[in-house]
Amino acid sequence: MIRKAVYFDNNATTRVAPEVRDAMLPFLDEFYANPSSIHRFGGQLAACVEEARAKMAALLGAEQPSEILFTSCGTESDSSALLSAASTCPKRRKIVTTTVEHPAILNRVRDLARHGYRVTEIPVDGKGRLDMDFVRTAIDDDTLIVSIMWANNETGNVYPVEELSEMAHSVGALFHTDAVQAVGKVPFRLSSMPGIDMLSLSGHKVHAPKGVGALYIRRGVRFHPFVLGGHQESGRRAGTENVASIVGMGKAAELALAGIEEENTRVRALRDKLEKAVLETIPCVRVNGDPEHRLPNTTNISFEYIEGESILMLLDLDNICASSGSACTTGSLEPSHVLRAMGVPYTAAHGAIRFSFSRYNTEEEVDFTLSKLPGIMEKLRAISPYWSRRNK
């Protein structure tokens, strides 16, 4: 039996919206035909896929639905974008990205580095902001593609992708952005941002199910498919369409477009309330990231002198779900690469907790969490040798 949780881990995944589930159900039942089939039954499903494509295009403010390619997840979209760039522009041999990208980008570019590409990872400052002078010198006329995330999953930092994309275009490089965390939280108008050639997104971060994503490819940008096979998706992504999930993601896109206002008002206010109260009531805490340029739903707070897994375990006993940049939570032995890239001191990196909100969170949940946090920190700090040393 899974217990009902106070869920502040929406950057990990989100609840499938009931409207999305309802939109999907017929496609798990009587609408089972293959959209590629010649009969009218199949043709009806193809029309539903196209409807979802139009909704996704609307969310992104894309010029036309054909710029949307459905994939299996954000990671596939990222790999597709980078590998397509490599195969369509074989003469250029340099890739520019950042030290704080998601592993979906970092591990792909590091693999390309093993195949002879030069990779530059742009460093960030203590707030996680990019060193723009470094970017200017890093992007040169050998640069194939610049891939920089729209928003960071751990800190919520939002990067100046429009400016960055123009810098890439000025030397004839492609620009790709992993917008998995930004979709549904910031408004998009890609039709008026001509520098953005490709953009990745994932369904399950915006209340669609897991296992479906999309890649935006601006009209006119050359594309070489990652998954080869049948003619689906106009020959750009083979494999029978995941119709139910695509329809669900279309519905989620429609809801996200309508909900951006709420994300930036009510959800933002909940996040701010939690963050402000933590800073006021608990000593030795710090917010990681750039509060000036940040998603409305994310806060990353370090509770100094204690370790993140212990915090998460105690939160979990109260059914509160969050996540941590701590090493111990993943079985890896190093704290988050994002916090390390930012130079967050070890005293703080190991005790970093991310609370990420969605429209399903309530003020009662924030109040409940705030009633539990101080006790948890006191309990763990009472055990910590560093805390008692600090207080001497």
Partner: protein, 287 residues
């Protein structure tokens, strides 16, 4: 999500013997903040030389706190002689079990106890303390990221019968960050295994005199100890299928099964090891 058992959760949620001790007879601190866990241990001894009181403070995850708490319960009432024989396995035994990736928490407990005993003996000018203290310091640093020495690696490998570098990472953290030392760790383990198995000095011609069943057992042993751990390190594995005269038939598994270098692996690793440990006449084929 870690699946901690009830005992681990009990020691994490209700840790025994937490705190500082102003008049401690021995104090030791191991680990540090950059490594993500640290344990400070205080011991008090009575006139009979038994540990009469013990306190700890821990910075770390749930299993680090639970391991520290279990350690304090374990050593209370022991003489220093008894305590010096405590290993991380004793700590794990009290807790029932720990996830493999968390074994380093129990090792941290053992190291803190050894360091505290050394501190006591040093303060009292006793012998033995020096040895223990020195043993840790004499080793060469193998893992620069976590400051783990070859002596520590050998110790932990011996106590816990570890065979692979990946296990050493789980037990000591060594190799868990940049990974540059993993090959070095595997070499240390291979040397150690050879010493303990004593196979290095076994006469090679003895093999041909064995019955087929004994031969198969010996081949299986070399595969288990010397070959499979290396393949598993890279995500592969191997299975012994048959012995036909002097031809050993094996099946490569995992990533090795589809590896373009499989033939090379068979010849350079599998056959080479069997030749080295058992007989130069053995050849290897894929079944």
């Amino acid at each position: 999500m870690w699946n901690y058992n009830e005992k681990v959760m009990d020691h994490f949620l209700n840790p025994r013997n937490v705190g500082e001790m102003a008049d401690a007879d021995a104090v030791a601190e191991v680990g540090n903040m950059s490594c993500g866990d640290a344990l400070k241990l205080y011991l008090k001894l009575d006139e009979a030389g038994k540990i009469s009181d013990v306190k700890f403070q821990t910075f770390g995850c749930a299993s680090a706190i639970a391991s520290s708490s279990a350690l304090t319960e374990l050593v209370k009432g022991m003489t220093l002689e008894e305590a010096s024989k405590v290993t991380n396995r004793d700590i794990v035994a009290i807790l029932g079990d720990l996830p493999e990736e968390k074994m380093h928490c129990s090792v941290m407990g053992m190291e803190a106890l050894q360091a505290a005993i050394a501190d006591y003996r040093k303060k009292k000018g006793l012998p033995g303390g020096e040895e223990l203290k020195n043993e840790d310091h004499e080793g060469r640093i193998v893992c620069k990221c976590f400051g783990v020495t070859d002596v520590q690696i050998r110790n932990v490998a011996r106590i816990n019968h570890l065979k692979t570098a990946a296990q050493i990472t789980e037990y000591t953290k060594a190799g868990g960050a940049c990974g540059h030392c993993l090959d070095k760790i595997q070499e240390i383990l291979d040397d150690l295994n050879r010493e303990t198995a004593g196979e290095g000095d076994r006469p090679k011609d003895e093999f041909s005199a064995l019955t087929p069943v004994r031969k198969i057992l010996r081949i299986q042993d070399v595969i288990d100890k010397e070959i499979r751990p290396r393949l598993e390190h890279d995500g592969g594995s191997i299975e012994l299928i048959d012995l036909d005269g002097s031809t050993v038939k094996v099946r490569l598994k995992g990533v090795c099964a589809t590896c373009p270098n499989a033939t090379l692996t068979l010849r350079k690793l599998v056959q080479a090891k069997l030749n080295e440990y058992l007989s130069p006449d053995l050849t290897v084929e894929e079944a």
